[in-house]
Structure formats: C-alpha cells, structure tokens
Symmetry: C2
Subunit: 364 residues, 2 copies
C-alpha cells in the first residue's frame, strides 16, 4: 500500500461511566493516529476534520451507565460523541464531497472516519436510540456567511431546540408573559429573543451578575434575576411577574419549577427542555406543587429536538435573516483546543460558561 498520509489524532476519551457530578478526570486526552484518506474498500464513508464541538448538558446522560431503552451510553475507552461542525476531507460517499461543511453528530477528536454517514437530520427517526452515540447524522452547511461555530448553537441543535420548544410546544401569543430559566444559555437566550419578537413580556433567570447583565442589556429581556442571590424564588417570580406567568421554558427543574408552579396563570404552559439541576443528583429533588396543575389547567410537556428536525428548513428561513440583519444576537463562550474540552464540558454543570459553550478544535 504505502504512501498513506498519517496524522496524529487527538481525542477526548471517556475514562469510565460517570456517577454523580462529572469531573474533568472522568475524561482524558489521548493521541491516536489516523490515515487522512478513506481506507481502500471502504465505500460510502467520509473522513471529516472536526472544527467546532458543542458542549451540551445532555451529554452527561450518555456518560453515565444508561439502563433505559431510550438512550445509549458512550463507550469507556472511546472518544465521546456529540454535535459539531466539520469539514469533509475525503469521501467515498456520493452525498458528500471533499470540502463540504457539515454539522451533526461527530466524535470528540480531530478527525473522524464515518463509515455510514446519514445526510438526514431532517428525516430523523424520532426514536433512533443510536442517534446520540454513533457519529454520522449530518446536515450540510449551505450558508457560510455567518460564523461557522453558529452551527453548534443558534443555527444548529440549540437553535432548533429553542424554535421547536417555543413555537411548537409553548403555544405562544402576543402579550404572553414568559419566564426562562438558564436564560443566558445556548437555548434560553434564543427563546427569550423569539418571545420578544412575538411581543411577549420576557424574564430570565441566570446564575451570575454578568449573565443577568447580558440578559437585560444585550439580549433585550424585560427583566432578569440571579437565582443564587434570591432567598425566595417564589418572591422573586412574584416580583417579576405581578400578573403571573403564562409560559415557562424549563431548563433547570427542582426548586425553580416548584416556585414557577405557584406563579403560573390559568391555562399556563411549561415546555420542559432540560432539568440541568437534576441530572447529577443521586435522588432528584422533589417537586411539591404539582396540584397547581389542576385548578390552573397547566400543561407541562417534555420534548426532544429530534422530533422536530423536519422543521429545520423552515427554521433556517426564519432565523438566518434575523441573524444576518442583527435582529438576533448570540452569545458564545469558545474554548480553544481539545485540551480545554473536558473543562468546558464539566463547566456547564457549575454554570462556568457565559452563553453557548463551544470548543474550537481547529480554526481553518
């Protein structure tokens, strides 16, 4: 054979299944090698160079030992898998050619060989349990006049999650009062801006003074508070929503949900996007005020973005112009290099990131 172009391939590898809160030491950096072309006889494959990786809270669920039918675990000893932006560097697949930019599911490493890529994020089977753990579900990037990292955020999964959750789950209308927890995060910051564009009154909670400032002064929220500085979340919500909450966009769970339930209006709606406060607890905190659901006729609905990717073209038609015209802002927190990836990922669970946490693997 001879003549192969070999390269080092830095990887972020899962050391062991995580229990409790994730630590940087649950992951380790490893340098493997990779051939920079598709191996002979490997038809239908693509080799991608990973440019940006997306740090998302859901990843922790796959770093734990999963017993459920609905999800798979990552494999200890192998790189973890998640959303990213990549460039095709070699292809034996008719749907992808060298130079194509894609976003979708890749591995946390410099280069990833994908034997059976699926150009199918819009036709995603909603109960495909391998989606999150097997690299290869991609969507081609056709618009490159925006920062490429945006395809891990505002123009990728978090953007689509915000769009589906707000427009499809929350049943919003002009004048609604909207509360968003983890509001400066990858998804919350967009939900708030979508709600403002619709003419809603929007309040967010976040975990630092800086984040609250961003919500109020950069993202156009009507009000915001630092939940860590509030003695009584019920009182904080009551202060911000004297006329009650019509829509709650739930990212955190636990005590915040309990306080929100007390402040919801008749026929209120709760879209449950995440419950980051609960993921790493041995025994999740109890929610005590669910009896409010009855007399207030509240609907709480959990959702997963995969059920809504068929709307991605419609989403892009709406959001891309807003981004280009500066009518939507997106705050990113970009960590440089794979070496910084474990810290960036673990930092999500202490709220270290300000805005969407991205890892820049390679800036071309």
């Amino acid at each position: 054979m001879g003549g192969e172009l070999m390269s080092n391939n830095k990887q972020v590898v899962l050391k062991h299944y995580v229990t409790g809160f994730p630590k940087e030491s649950d992951l380790f950096l490893k340098t493997a090698t990779v051939e920079l072309k598709i191996p002979h006889g490997c038809n239908g494959a693509v080799l991608v160079k990973n440019l940006y990786l997306s740090c998302d809270p859901y990843l922790i669920n796959h770093m734990k030992k999963v017993e459920e039918n609905y999800a798979d675990s990552f494999t200890p000893g192998s790189p973890i898998v998640g959303y990213g932006v990549s460039r095709v560097v070699d292809s034996s697949n008719p749907h992808f050619k060298k130079g194509d930019l894609v976003w979708g599911i890749t591995s946390w490493e410099e280069y990833t060989l994908i034997k059976s890529p699926r150009n199918s994020i819009q036709n995603q089977e909603t109960d495909d349990v391998t989606f999150f753990t097997v690299p290869g579900t991609f969507c081609k990037i056709l618009h490159t006049d925006v920062p490429l990292s945006y395809y891990t955020g505002i123009l990728g999964m978090p953007g689509m999650t915000a769009y589906a959750g707000f427009y499809e789950v929350c049943s919003p209308k002009k004048g609604d009062t909207v509360f968003i927890s983890a509001a400066s995060g990858a998804i919350g910051q967009l939900v708030g801006q979508f709600a403002k564009l619709m003419g809603c009154y929007v309040v967010g909670s976040a975990g630092s003074k800086d984040k609250v400032d961003i919500l109020k002064n950069k993202l156009g929220f009507d009000n915001a508070f630092n939940y860590k500085e509030e003695q009584d979340l019920n009182a904080a919500l009551n202060r911000c929503f004297p006329n009650g909450i019509d829509i709650y966009f739930e990212n955190v769970g636990g005590k915040m949900l309990d306080a929100v339930l007390l402040n919801m209006n008749l026929h209120g709606r709760v879209a449950v996007c995440g419950m980051i406060s609960q993921y790493n607890l041995d025994q999740p905190g109890g929610v005590h005020n669910l009896a409010c659901l009855i007399i207030k006729r509240i609907r709480i609905e959990g959702y997963v973005v995969n059920d809504y990717y068929h709307l991605y073209p419609k989403f892009l038609d709406k959001v891309l112009p807003l981004v280009k015209e500066g009518k939507i802002t997106y705050v990113e927190d970009i960590a440089e290099g794979l070496e910084s990836a474990p810290g960036a990922l673990v930092g999500l669970f202490s709220g270290r990131n300000v805005g969407k946490q991205v890892v820049a693997v390679a800036r071309e």
Copy 2:
C-alpha cells in the same frame, strides 16, 4: 303576611376552616327553618328541594382557607355548597317551573332558595371563581328513566369529567395501554370503561380487595391491584404493564405519579384530574422523576371539567344509551340522610366509599 308554609330545613354547616385532614367534627348539623315558597318581591328566584348530594374530593379545597384567586372558600357558619340533584318546588324564574328536576350547584340542606339561578352549565365561564361556592348553576334533567342519583355521578360532573379527561385530554387511540389510579371512584370507573370501549388495555389501582374485585369482575378492567398491598409501586406497574403505559389518568398524585413516570412510554400522556393523596398534607410529597418527561416526551395536563361543559349534550348523547343498554356500569355508595353527610364526605379521604359517594337527602 301570614299563611306561609314553613318547614324545618336541616343543614350541613362548616364549623371552621379545615386544616390538614378533614374530620366529621369540622362540620355540624343545624336545623333552620325555610318558607316553602318564593318570598314576595323575589323575582327570578327558585326554591329547590335537594334530593341527592354529591361527595367530591374537590370540596375539601373550599373548606380550607383559600388564598388564591382561582377559588373561593365556603363560609364558616353556612352550609357547604356542592353538586346535587334537586326538584324545583317554587319558581319566579321564567326558565324554571315547579316540578322541574335539575342537577348543578346547590347547598347541603333540605331546601335551598336560589335568588339568581343560571340555567347555564353548558355555557359556563371557565374562570368564574364563584361557580363552586355560590348555589345556582343548574342544568335541567330531561331524561328520568335512569336513577336520579346518576346525575351526581355518571350523568353529571364526574361523568363529564371522565369524558373530557379521557377523550379531550388523553388523546387516546385503540390499543393504548391505560392506567387509572383511584380507579373504582366516581370518575376512574368511567374512564376505565370508556378506555375498554375504545379497545385499550386498562389497569386500575384501588385501596382494598373489594375495590380490586369490582374493577376486575364488574367493570371489565384487564387488571387491577391494591396499592396498599404493594411494597413497590414501580414493580407493580412494571408487572401490569410489561410494554409500558401510554396514558395515565391521574387521581392521586405523589408516590404513584413518581412510579408511573418510570413506566411511561414515549409520547405518553397524563391527564391530571385530581391528586387526592396530596390535598390534606401540610407539605405535599415531592415528585422526583419529572426528568422522565424530557426523554420520553411526556405531556402532563391538568384540567377542570368546567372548561368542557359545552360538550355536555354530546356527552349525554353518547353515554345515556350506553347506560340504558347496560354497556356501562356505575357503582354508587349511597349514604342515607343529611345526618350521614359529614361522615360520607370525610370518608372519601380514607377511601371508605366503594364507588361514587352520594348522600340521599330525600327519596321522593
């Protein structure tokens, strides 16, 4: 004036606001007097003789001191107010005449003078906070070839609640697996039979061997269990639902909801009709498994029958023939006389009743 026909009027009076679990001594019997005709100058009024009173768990919410905007409290020193079946004995209202039978909101006493009756249960304002505490919202009874007490149950509020909850909130389809808690109660027994008629697999929980026998042998449930005899509710549900639960009709809350969440299927639906296990606790029990909502895409929706009374004619068209043809069964637990009313009402919260708890005030 002279010549008035006076009568004793036994009443069930709220002694004081209830705290914690209700006791019979929170109520007392009082004998007042009543004139058996509409007083002069009282235009638009009706005088009704109460025949059957309905013991419903929601009543406890009005026996407590209510701080919310959404509900009113009953008045200590006055008779409590609830659903019942009554006969008009005098009327100065053009919409009602002497002899009419009605079901709707009346007082717990032998005779009730209603100054402004509303013949409007089908046009009920959904956020009328006086609905439950001010007698006078009535619906005329046109079909009397069924037991009149049924208008406190299968043909009244509980029937309509079961109908709206199952057909309008649960989004049921043939083949769905359906779990119902408090399944032998006024509402649960109907939901189970509606689900069987649709071709669902139906399991109920109840609090005694007798009730479980009724579910399995009289009401046609596929399976049933006594939750008091189960060490592990999760295991009990897993045993009854090896393929998971598509629909949960929630009447109890707390630990049962937590166990159900672990056993729900993807895109499962929970209609929250009541949470009787929680109403009398100082601190409601915590529900810990709400993170299941996300990955399983579960919808939980609280509802109140008042939002659905516009469907009452449609409901009656469907259910009345089923009742007359014996295709639906209804189990009632009838206590005789107002003297038995406090015990009957309080008994709901220990599960003393078997089937719909009714108080027969007068059998004509």
